[in-house]
């Protein structure tokens, strides 16, 4: 679960439901009235993922371009993983986070994806395939995609250490997370993760209550405070987990946190109401606060970002026409239109070149090059995201993603970590 619970521009619920309903109706009626000609009819793909990633615009565009009907199965992030593990026959395509792969791949429920069938395979950003940007290595602590993107073959239950012809997931969207702040209520520059536990913000700070992500934000704070240097923040030893949780418990007992949040909307409300002035935050939440006319900054910090990434996977049981359709859809997804759509929401797309061709020069300059907006920047649904002259928080693609410190992860000591996290909540 990372920062995609809502898109900045906002496809609203009605539109989404309408789109899904329409897609479902079409799917149902075609099956109902033409069972005999099923082999010839345009295929339907059951797309498992979180609701926020499943835009009606994308489904409509695919229908128009390829004739493929996308049938969204919107569930929560945790449910995506649970469903892949427990009911792998209930979808044709899954949109899942790389960090979940450690839990999913050993079950053998995902099919290795043949890169020779992906037209843009060679153009997928090196951030995923090699862990570099412009030849410079970026932080790879945690479940960095390069560690889990390659599989030894089509049927695999573990990962390959170097490039093979098979990918676990074809990347779709990724971003780098940091702290959100209320500059109007803080009134001074914020530069370090350490500020989250600064007693100056006692009772006005918040951290997210999703153990696997919250602990990494906490680890960034512990490092920034100079208390400990982790070998890998995304894979702590038991002692490191104890230390990190101890730091959190101390802060909690001292009344540092106003609340913990678990759900995207909670973080928006905490920030917008002024209950909290500094907290872990997801980029669309910052946008949501801003669209209420309240100042909110997605503050770049000197210790770097916590990154996350998601991609498309196929269930092990898929084959034949369904599989061809899935590949066709993924190829379409990487071919530019969808990439531009994602970039305009402040996320990043996997194949940058094709997305660039689908964006206006001034849009590309604002979102990807860190330049001041030449004109007002609009979301795909037409909401104003930035006025002319504004610069994106954190700057260019290279500046933001080059400063990644760690990636969302599932630790080897996950069970222990969750238990300790519950201790923090109970303290």
């Amino acid at each position: 679960m990372t920062d995609r619970p809502s898109r900045p521009g906002g496809l609203n619920r009605r539109k989404f439901l309408y789109g899904t309903a329409a897609a479902t109706t079409v799917a149902a009626s075609t099956k109902l009235f033409a069972p005999a000609v099923q082999a010839q009819e345009a295929p339907t793909l059951r797309y498992l993922g979180t609701a926020v990633n499943q835009s009606a615009e994308i489904a409509a565009k695919v229908k128009e371009d390829l004739g493929i009907t996308i049938e969204y199965i919107p569930v929560t992030t945790d449910e995506v993983t649970r469903r892949v593990v427990t009911q792998p026959n209930t979808f044709d395509l899954v949109d899942i986070e790389y960090m979940s792969l450690k839990n999913v791949v050993p079950t053998g429920n995902l099919k290795g994806m043949d890169t020779s069938k992906i037209t843009q395979a060679d153009n997928i950003t090196t951030l995923f395939t090699e862990g570099t940007i412009d030849g410079q290595p970026v932080g790879d602590q945690g479940t960095a995609p390069k560690k889990v993107i390659w599989l030894p073959g089509e049927e695999a239950t573990d990962f390959a250490t170097e490039p093979t012809g098979f990918m676990s997931l074809i990347p779709t969207v990724y971003n780098a997370d940091t702290l959100g702040i209320r500059p109007d209520l803080i009134g001074r520059p914020i530069e370090s993760w350490a500020e989250l536990l600064n007693p100056e913000f006692k009772g006005k700070a918040s951290i997210l209550n999703i153990p696997s992500i919250g602990i990494m934000d906490a680890a960034l704070v512990v490092e920034a405070l100079g208390e400990h240097q982790y070998a890998d923040k995304g894979n702590m030893t038991r002692d490191e987990i104890d230390l990190t949780i101890e730091t959190l418990i101390e802060a909690k007992r001292a009344g540092q946190f106003r609340a913990l949040w678990q759900d995207f909307n909670e973080s928006v409300n905490l920030m917008a109401s002024g209950e909290v002035v500094i907290q872990s935050m997801w980029s669309p939440a910052v946008t949501a606060v801003r669209t209420q006319g309240i100042e909110c900054k997605y503050q770049p910090l000197k210790e770097g970002y916590r990154a996350w990434a998601a991609g498309f996977g196929l269930p092990a049981t898929i084959d034949g026409r369904q599989q061809d359709a899935a590949y066709e859809f993924i190829n379409w997804f990487l071919s530019g239109w969808a990439g531009a759509f994602l970039n305009r929401q402040g996320y990043y797309s996997a194949v940058l070149g094709t997305a660039k061709e689908n964006m206006e020069a001034y849009e590309w300059a604002y979102w990807m090059e860190g330049a001041a907006a030449e004109q007002d920047i609009m979301s795909p649904s037409g909401q104003l995201l930035a006025k002319a002259g504004e610069v994106r928080d954190g700057g260019s693609y290279q500046d933001r993603l080059g400063a990644i410190s760690c990636w969302n992860a599932v630790m080897d000591e996950n069970v222990y970590m969750v238990r300790k996290w519950n201790e923090f909540v109970a303290s």
Partner: protein
């Protein structure tokens, strides 16, 4: 021997036989042999309870047994293996004895939950009893009674999450309460304990669940013969004595049923505690939810079994106080 039976002109015994005949072939055969009454009385209740037993078996007993079985299984991050181990229970009570008097997570969580239970129970009891008293004894007209009763149900038209969310803009740092108090000059700084605190959790619980206490008490009070109260008054009892020595004992079944409602709901709740406590207060339900999210079903099941045991113990103790079945 109701009016309907007389109206349709069917003798009651014959009707009873017809029912029996529909229910089981044996009773039909028995009826032919002339022992209809005894057999029908024995058979009918079970046959009538049949559908309910079936529903309970499928949707309650079955899942419960599964939960208990799974609580003894082993798990990794991505798999659940059938086994017969007690590690999950050991983990639930991890270092609980060794670390005493420092409370372990489980004890601390249960202590906090029990604290909420007790406070909420006490307040909803006083409120529920007083409100019930007002509706039953003070309001004379039945139509007004019904109107007031319906008024109490209006909040239930929205979901309980919305009802508790509604408190947030009221109690927040820049909320209505703080603004009002500050403009009246009663406080100079916003009061932070109003929201995301024990106070907020208890307030929301009371708001949400007083009704569950009040309704059974009203039900009991309605049955009290007014003449008893008059007799008590004539004998010189104060209103307090009447309430404590006459009405309260007669309302005991209502009070116990209401208490069971409130206590079981509060014990298992994690949404109210989460929203109003700013996710900073532990609850057993929340622990289970987190473990479910991380696919740790066996330990979540073990936690659920422990919670069930705790709640059953409380209910058992309460039913010792009053034989609900007899009093009904």
């Amino acid at each position: 021997m109701t009016t309907t039976e007389q109206a349709t002109g069917t003798p009651p015994i014959a009707e009873g036989r017809a029912h029996t005949a529909l229910v089981t072939p044996q009773s039909d055969a028995a009826a032919l042999h002339g022992v209809k009454r005894r057999v029908s009385l024995l058979d009918r209740p079970y046959a009538l309870a049949g559908p309910l037993i079936l529903v309970m078996a499928i949707f309650f007993v079955g899942p419960l047994i599964l939960t208990i079985i799974v609580s003894f299984w082993e798990y990794t991050q991505y798999s659940i293996e059938p086994a017969m181990v007690v590690t999950n229970y050991v983990d639930v009570f991890d270092r609980c004895i060794a670390r005493l008097p420092t409370l372990c997570v489980t004890f601390a969580t249960y202590l906090s939950t029990l604290k909420f239970c007790f406070i909420v129970w006490a307040i909803t009891l006083i409120l529920g009893f007083t409100l019930a008293w007002f509706i039953v004894f003070e309001v004379k007209k039945t139509s007004t009674q019904i109107a007031l009763f319906l008024l109490c149900t209006i909040p239930f038209w929205t979901s309980n999450v919305i009802r508790m969310m509604a408190w947030i803009p009221l109690l927040g740092r820049n909320g209505l309460v703080n603004q009002t108090l500050m403009s009246m000059g009663l406080i100079s700084e916003p009061q932070e304990w109003l929201l995301y605190s024990d106070f907020a959790v208890i307030l929301a619980f009371i708001h949400l669940y007083t009704m569950f206490m009040m309704v059974p008490i009203v039900n009991s009070m309605m049955r009290i013969d007014r003449e008893i109260l008059e007799a008590a008054r004539d004998a010189g009892a104060s209103i307090w004595t009447i309430a404590m020595s006459v009405v309260a004992p007669l309302c005991r079944p209502g009070i116990v049923i209401g208490s069971i409602f409130v206590i079981t709901i509060v014990m298992g709740d994690y949404i109210t505690v989460g929203v109003m406590g700013g996710q900073q207060i532990a609850s057993v339900g929340k622990t289970i939810q987190v473990q479910m999210q991380y696919l740790q079903f066996p330990i979540a099941a073990a936690n659920a079994v422990v919670l069930l045991g705790a709640v059953l113990m409380i209910i058992f103790a309460m039913t010792k106080l009053v034989d609900v079945r007899r009093e009904l």
